[in-house]
Assembly symmetry: C2
Homo-oligomer: 426 residues x 2
Amino acid sequence: MIAFHAVDVIKAKRDGEVLTDGQIRSFLEAYTAGAIAEEQAAALLMAIFWRGMTADELTTWTDAMVASGERLDLSTVGRPTVDKHSTGGVGDKVSLPLVAIVAACGAAVPQLSGRGLGHTGGTLDKMESIPGWRAALPPDEMTRVLQDVGGVICAAGPRLAPADRKLYALRDVTGTVESIPLIASSIMSKKIAEGTQALVLDVKVGTGAFMSDLGQARALAETMVQLGQANGVRTSALITAMDTPLGRAVGNAVEVEESLDVLRGEGPEDLVTITHALAREMLALAGVDADADAVRHDGRAMATWRAMVVAQGGDPDATLPRATDYLAVRAPESGYVTRLDARAVGNAVWRLGAGRARKEDPVSKTAGIWCRAKPGEWVEEGQPVMELAIDDPARVPAALDALTGAFDIGPEPPPPRDLIIDYIHF
Amino acid sequence: MIAFHAVDVIKAKRDGEVLTDGQIRSFLEAYTAGAIAEEQAAALLMAIFWRGMTADELTTWTDAMVASGERLDLSTVGRPTVDKHSTGGVGDKVSLPLVAIVAACGAAVPQLSGRGLGHTGGTLDKMESIPGWRAALPPDEMTRVLQDVGGVICAAGPRLAPADRKLYALRDVTGTVESIPLIASSIMSKKIAEGTQALVLDVKVGTGAFMSDLGQARALAETMVQLGQANGVRTSALITAMDTPLGRAVGNAVEVEESLDVLRGEGPEDLVTITHALAREMLALAGVDADADAVRHDGRAMATWRAMVVAQGGDPDATLPRATDYLAVRAPESGYVTRLDARAVGNAVWRLGAGRARKEDPVSKTAGIWCRAKPGEWVEEGQPVMELAIDDPARVPAALDALTGAFDIGPEPPPPRDLIIDYIHF
């Protein structure tokens, strides 16, 4: 008799019932169109936070989020498409060299990225420290760059999963962010709408990650891999360690600098290890038989990078902006660095101005931290453990405050740790 | 450092933590002032639905709701004040004769009432079928009527517990109505703000009540009695049966008619029993030693009723409006009525136009149902079990539809039932 009542959907989820396809699709369609109030969506999100969703509910929910907007058609690109998504970490600049490496190997990488929030950075913020580079690219332009260059890093347009755009903002203010089905559907709806044929997820776990519990990280990874497969995207996931910053650079321009090292065949070992592992998995899913290490050493990855930068108005030969002031945080005694906390470093970089509290805030291109000694490395008393790149000296006290207790030094090196903790595939 | 973040309060409740006094008071104060968005309040309500509240949290929450507006001062009334609140049922017109009876006994009854919603009627809707009677009364006028007459039935003003007004509307659209702490605080905040010294609660249980589970009804009653006591209002509760309509009349003008029978010393036995039980408890809490039955038989209760009606512009001698069409629902066979379902009758009366789906809807004064045979009574085949009083013939099919399966007839009378199931006091 009565076609559809939002409050009945809320009550059903509240009472632990399984929502029907029709309930999910009607709710999300009406919500995206503005016909369901924010307070009703908020109540449903909290009920989902509480009760969870079955695999079938989540598949429908994600599909309805994709259907709220357009799904890109990359069939004209002429290469197998494959993308990567990281749940976010400190010093995680992997996307920058990775897109160029995989594109240089012959796959097409349509990387639609976001901006940083809180203690984790965003790929677009980092790229924008390259003089002239622009994040916005119309869909037809994006397709053309993928055809010509093979890799693109750009902002998702407003017509891609608009339901997610609204839900993401709502979750932020209603305490419903940390829910596995809501996280998984948010990430996967955008990646499915982006039109990629394959996807490798980098689910980070540790103090600097969104999730510090391995069981939770594994559940999220499995949920996302299932969702990808159910929606026709070949998907797998690596679970990787995020207890200490990845590489040595944390910030925006400083992370581009370090990415260029990787593209030159250099770069810190942990960053190179993760980049290669992800590249190998992406190429396998794309069915491309190529050597990621070779393109990094013979200049092809760098050539692809330069073409990518040029295609979006950037100058690959321009000098990256640099901070004017530097401040060293020194070792109070000699010994091995046994711990350098990712979350603390991420918060300090945020305080220095390279991160943002709200998505409207501007970010500093040059502020950042160089980790001069990482866990397992020896420092002499008085040597720098970290070097702060400073854009606004007034921000230094807050950054130093965030670094209180950020590292430990001891007589023995810490036990070796696994960078790659698990591999989830079906 | 940071004064107050609504999302931190939501997360704390979401995670099962106990909210501090400051969190509760800040949240409700900011919400009432419009400084917290509806979606944030919706998320908190669902988290409360999920996690509940401790007795201390609920006392603070209720006190903050009272503090969101003004608390009436009835100290100038010159009589002990005592009120009654029913959680709502079908044919529950008890307030009408009860206020007059208790006032005639010497107490003052400041009954701030509401309107009907769904299958349950509202006291104000019933009173408004009296020609000329007006529900709105300014506070000073209300105090004067209490001094002069002893009883008043009127609408709660907009300055009484405004937080409840907002939360009540929000709960309705967010699936967060059926939560014991939210129900208890909504009812008690208004009664505490109304300024009564004592309060008797009539918590109904059964198919026609808000709660059909006795354990839930008892938990609600205990919670409200505790809240009243914690806020300086002497409070007790009766738990009463609501499986079949109370009395024979269900609607608006028809319920006033039946109330007048009670005030004349007549009326159906179940209605008189409940009215007397509540009157005795109210007089006991008010410390007034008087005989409720005597004032009902010697005309004093009726005289008080007439004075109450006149004080609010009504004409106690005017003929009540009557329906023009009637339709009998007849017994298909001879036997005892073994069941007459309160919910079905309430829904049918609503469909006939006497109830409303949304609080803005108008209601019919004359539509209603007379229950001609109640459970335990014998009917011959073809005798009316119910008589529908019809205002708009187009509504009859929906009402008859709601009455499908509403009663049973059998060879044996049903077992006797307790009208008054429990008594909660501390």
